[in-house]
């Protein structure tokens, strides 16, 4: 088909009109700023579980808390209203969200028997049984009823108990009570080491 000059010009003009009518815009596109990711999250004030400083934190949570939903943490940062840390957090505290949602978190005890080269997952019953057996054996072997001067002491020198900074007051009370009942004297706490 031959195109005459007149037809070509007509087509060009018509094309131009159509393109501008469709809103072909030469204005530059602006940078799209990411929306604040915590904008619709619920805030839960809580305390960092790691060390004895006890920094205040805010956990940002998605999920309405309705009967058929589960909530999930999306972000954790320092609580600016807390007098202890004023919103600041150390690197461990700043990454504490991982303690709740990391896929690499262990949810059952790991056991590596004598001579074995690999760790394997075991259930809690096995772990508690194993622990109780070992605890009793050590206690029986190292229990001291009287010291060198004949005074009654009833203590267990062969076991030390290291608590945790992540335990609450009540847990710490229970740990201390139980271990004292067993005769332990070496009771310490991770945050002091």
């Amino acid at each position: 088909m031959a195109i005459s000059r007149r037809t070509f010009l007509k087509a060009s003009v018509a094309g131009g009109v159509v393109v501008s009518a469709l809103g072909f815009d030469l204005k530059p596109a602006y940078a799209a700023v990411r929306q604040l990711k915590i904008r619709n999250a619920r805030e839960y004030k809580t305390v960092c579980p790691y060390c004895a400083v006890g920094c205040g934190t805010i956990a940002y949570v998605h999920g309405s808390g309705g009967l058929n939903t589960t909530k999930t943490i999306i972000h954790v940062e320092g609580d600016p209203d807390n007098p202890i840390n004023g919103g600041t957090l150390c690197p461990k505290g700043a990454s504490q969200m991982g303690l709740a949602i990391s896929p690499r978190l262990r949810k059952s005890p790991m056991y590596r028997g004598a001579g074995a080269s690999e760790w394997r997952e075991v259930d809690w019953d096995f772990a508690m049984d194993w622990f109780a057996r070992k605890f009793k054996a050590s206690r029986d072997a190292t229990f001291v009823e009287q010291d060198s001067q004949g005074r009654t002491v009833n203590r267990c020198n062969g076991i030390a108990w290291v608590g945790s900074a992540t335990v609450a007051n009540e847990d710490a009370y229970l740990i201390t009570k139980t271990m004292r009942a067993m005769g332990l004297t070496y009771i310490d706490h991770q945050a002091r080491i």
């Binding site: 030469l26 204005k27 990411r34 940062e77 690197p91 700043a94």
Partner: protein, 292 residues
Amino acid sequence: MPDTLAIKRISATPSALIPLESLRSGGPVYSKLVDISKCIGCKGCEVACKEWNDLKVEQTANFGSMQSHKDLSSNTWLLMRFNEVEVGDDLQWLIKKDACLHCEEPGCLFACPAPGAIVQYQNGIVDFNQDQCIGCQNCVSGCPFDIPRFDKSTKTVAKCNMCIDRVEVGLEPACVKTCPTNAIQWGIKEDMLALAEKKVETMKRRGYEHAALYNPGGVGGTHMMYVVPHGDRLEDYSLPAHPVASPAPLHGLSVLRRVGSYLLGFGVVSALAHFLAVGPESPEDEAWEPKP
């Protein structure tokens, strides 16, 4: 568009083409102030940066330094560089918070040929827009501080955006908020300059006679400023002593656009004049004959 995101400059775009409503001035001009003498090297800021910006974790290996990563990357926007330097008889850590300094005269923006890929806001933040990035890496060579990093998988460049999503709603950047020793401070630039002056004075009184504020004039000042105890040894902090960025390419582009539009206008006008003076061309005028 809220005032906190009023635009100052857009890459490869003459200011005449930026709509007026987005160029509104006003609103606070922010700055970070990093007091290196207060930094204990805990790297909390690195973690907070990764966490807030959802940046991918990178495997690190010990290479004989307390530094976590060897270099910045498109997924590591903030890196504490642990420069081990002998000062007098002492071996000291001259730590540098290596991240975008958000220059007033940003070399990356001036070098960028993609309209809208780099935007400078009135509040001082220079942000990359990966949607408009063409992956040419001109910004990497244009940056006097060697900050932007190319991502081979997305073919775009990334760097610290000063948590612009937080700043927009009135929050401080994540690294500022988390710093446990107040080494990183945040506020309007005037306040930070006044604070820096006090800090430098205190340091000088305590015997650091070369203590100085790092706010280089070659790039028009920065929106992350440092107070360094050893101001005479900037190179040891891996801070360039005289960084320079020039808006010449952007001005050049603006001139080129103007010349181009004049030439186009001239062409149209001459064609019209020719049409009126000589009239339309008729087939009889044509001197050539088609070959058989």
